[in-house]
């Protein structure tokens, strides 16, 4: 079950090498994204997630806000 986390834990996991994934469309990612994040829009997860990410490594996903 995915775990909801806050900013401090995001930073801690980033320091430990977690992959960070922005799931917003590419234009929004290009303007601003978290340091080191890759862009995998929701609709591309099916086809690209396993090719671009290691499924055994921690991964943090985010979008714009909780809405």
């Amino acid at each position: 079950m995915p775990r909801e986390i806050g900013r401090d834990e995001v930073r801690r996991l980033m320091d430990q090498g977690a992959a960070v994934v922005e799931v917003l469309p590419a234009n929004e990612y290009l303007e601003d994204h978290l340091p080191g994040a890759i862009n995998l829009p929701l609709r591309k997860l099916e086809t690209e997630a396993l090719a671009r990410l290691d499924p055994t490594r921690p991964v943090i996903v985010y979008c714009w806000d909780g809405a």
């Binding site: 775990r3 799931v23 994204h33 921690p58 996903v61 985010y62 979008c63």
Partner: protein
Amino acid sequence: MSPRAAWRLESLGFTEVYDYVAGKLDWMAAGLPTEGTNAARPRAGDVARRDVPTCHLDEKLGDVQERVVAAGWDACVVVNSERVVLGLLRAAELRRDPALRIEKAMRPGPSTFRPYEEIEKIAKIMADRNLESVPITTSDGRLVGLLLRADVNRDLAPEERGKP
């Protein structure tokens, strides 16, 4: 959107998936660095003065006046013990009766902006409302710094500053 992504990754076999629910808005509102085409554009959090004097509701204005002047400022942000912004003392409020308590002397509930907001937009609002300074806060109201109109205008071309 991120909860759906998190669940989908898990269904694809990812073993350790975290959902940063508050997302990019929360990150930027905290003034943390980002990458991307907008990262080089000046933002409120970059320009705000973080050394702005602060005071509390129960202090006496006279004591605060002395401290603010000694620090070379003509403004002071009123905060609580969590650094949540409750009011603002601009030059006019700082000139009031020194015997007043801060909660009686301050301008309560000042407009605030988030650190990620572009200063071009804030400059226009400051010009329209004739504001010399505005507090920059995180999304939960904590003080990041005070944005001065003079600093904003220094970083913008004249046509970006709003009306004089």
